[in-house]
């Protein structure tokens, strides 16, 4: 392995190479960083991926469009609903189907709930990376409320599989709206606690301010998206720029910072939770009546051609690219996953900082490894 690395990177006798992962708790999965260290300072960093590669894109070539949905759950499992929606929107675009308004509203609500749940889990694991064990319990406590909403309506807690091309699997539960209202009321009270515990904490601030700077130019040229890029000032919110579902009907702010360091990536996600709650408040009372699915043929066949649709997941921009030859299976399906592109900037951000900062930086990226490897 040393030979493999030293052929790429020049290693002098003052440097040494360590493996960071694949079983390190702060890599949040099976991701391996090969880190060149000089003393404690990171000189070079190479991510090695593929430990949890399941060949989802290849598997999709043998599955119908309805069956693909449950595999997309397993890519970015923390934003499972957005992944489902991306494939559904792409198929609907290809078939030129207009889904009922009710479906659009419910999808948007579930998107935002999923985004909050994802950011809550990120918050608590980031806190734990920084040495604050308490955060983990507080974050999971509040996330449980959202998971209950999912469980009652979708049937799943993490892997929802609630979307289907043309609409939803079944109608929303009668308690759905009331539970969301209760949650918003509850979480508005609890979110200031997050700030008290972690945001204002001196240890977090010392460890994250000015660490892992990502410039706007680098963010654009590396194709970084999501809160990571928005903390660097790159306006890349697909919800705002290319609205899908019911995002054109809601009023929300795109969170933008210009500093681009770890602390502002943290702040961007915290503010996104507040914005998501605003979106929920606007939509929850206005779900229009109607069907929960458009009329679809039992066998969905896409006309020959190439189709692309992107959505904003909680980590960035997910693109679904389908090439169809007119069959009921896709000829080729490609997922442009946000984490893969975000990961490419790790070397850029971590070089020159200490190895303890590497954990802060990778934590602030909110990496989900199955989404990288697919």
């Amino acid at each position: 392995m040393t030979e493999e690395i030293s052929s790429v990177v020049e290693v002098d006798d003052q440097e040494y190479i360590i493996n960071f992962g694949p079983q390190h708790p702060s890599t949040h999965g099976v991701l391996r960083f090969v880190v060149n260290l000089r003393g404690e300072v990171v000189k070079n960093l190479q991510p090695h991926i593929g430990y949890i590669h399941r060949g989802i894109e290849k598997m999709c070539e043998k599955l119908t469009y309805q069956q693909i949905i449950h595999l997309t759950d397993r890519m970015d499992y923390l934003s499972a609903h957005m992944n489902n929606e991306a494939v559904c929107l792409c198929v609907e675009k290809a078939l030129d189907i207009e889904v009922p308004e009710r479906v659009k509203y419910v999808r948007t609500i579930l998107d935002e709930l999923n985004r909050i749940a994802s950011h809550q889990l990120w918050w608590c694991s980031f806190g734990m990376d920084m040495g604050g064990q308490t955060c983990y319990f507080y974050g999971l406590r509040d996330r449980e409320k959202i998971l209950d909403i999912f469980e009652e309506t979708c049937g799943g807690r993490l892997l929802l599989s609630y979307n289907t091309p043309g609409g939803l699997m079944w109608d929303i539960h009668p308690n759905f709206q009331q539970r969301i209202k209760d949650f918003i009321k509850y979480f508005r009270k609890k979110l200031p606690e997050y700030d008290k515990i972690l945001t204002g904490n001196v240890i977090l601030q010392e460890r994250t301010k000015g660490i892992g700077h990502l410039s706007l130019e680098d963010a654009i040229s590396y194709g970084v998206t999501g809160p990571t890029a928005r903390a660097s000032g790159f306006s890349c919110d697909v919800r705002k720029n290319y609205p899908y579902s019911a995002y054109d009907k809601v009023d929300f702010k795109e969170i933008l910072y210009t500093e681009g360091d770890t602390f502002h990536r943290y702040l961007a996600r915290m503010e996104e939770m507040r914005e998501s709650m605003k979106i929920l408040e606007q939509l929850v009372d206005n779900i229009p009546a109607g069907d929960f699915t458009a009329k679809m043929k039992p066998v969905v066949k896409l006309p020959e051609g190439e189709y692309f649709q992107r959505v904003e997941t909680s980590r960035g921009e997910l693109g679904v690219y389908i090439i169809s030859k007119g069959d009921k299976f896709p000829y080729r399906i490609k997922f442009r996953s946000p984490n893969f592109c975000n990961l490419a900037t790790m070397n850029l951000m971590a070089s020159g900082f200490k190895i303890a900062d590497l954990i802060a930086i990778s934590g602030s990226m909110d990496l989900v490894i199955p989404d990288i490897d697919r």
Partner: protein, 167 residues
């Protein structure tokens, strides 16, 4: 002199931020009502002392696929195989036989509806696409067994037959 003031005020601000954080944790430490932990496995069926907090799954929770039978040991599965076609993992296998019905016509009926729980990914396509609503999800979630052959289940009960009126 200036650096000393900054140093001391830094210590003060740091301590203050820690105390603010600890005021939150302290509040929960001294208020047992705020504890949300559910004691598992003690309270999962509502036994134990605090049976108020029993663990009840929601009706739609996708635990495992079951085939409901009525009091006469009859089910609704006609053996059409749509669930088998729709399953993305090959979880379901239907072994059917053709029986001669009362009117003398040959009819397809299931002998075994095999469901491999270990392969199921709970996408709910079988339940959704079943034309006669023969399958549904149960709320059972404790699937751990010592032998994996126990995960292969036959959903129709022995001696069961097709419900009348279901085609």
């Amino acid at each position: 002199m200036k650096s000393i003031i900054e140093y001391i005020s830094g210590i003060y601000r740091g301590l203050r931020s820690l105390l603010i954080g600890m005021s939150v944790t302290g509040k929960y430490f001294f208020s047992p009502r705020a504890i949300v932990t559910q004691q598992y496995p003690e309270n999962r069926h509502g036994h134990g002392k605090r049976s108020k907090k029993q663990l009840v799954m929601f009706d739609r929770f996708k635990g495992e696929v079951v085939m409901p039978h009525d009091a006469n040991n009859q089910h609704k599965c006609t053996g059409c195989g749509i669930c088998e076609i729709n399953c993305p993992n090959g979880t379901i296998e239907i072994i059917s036989v053709s029986k001669v019905g009362e009117d003398g016509k040959k009819k397809r009926a299931i002998e075994k509806h095999i469901y491999r729980l270990g392969m199921c990914s709970f996408c709910a396509l079988c339940v959704k696409t079943c034309p006669s609503k023969a399958l549904e999800f149960s709320q059972e979630f404790e699937h751990a067994v010592f032998d994996r052959t126990k995960l292969v289940k036959v959903l129709n009960k022995p001696g069961s037959s097709l419900m009348k009126g279901v085609e």
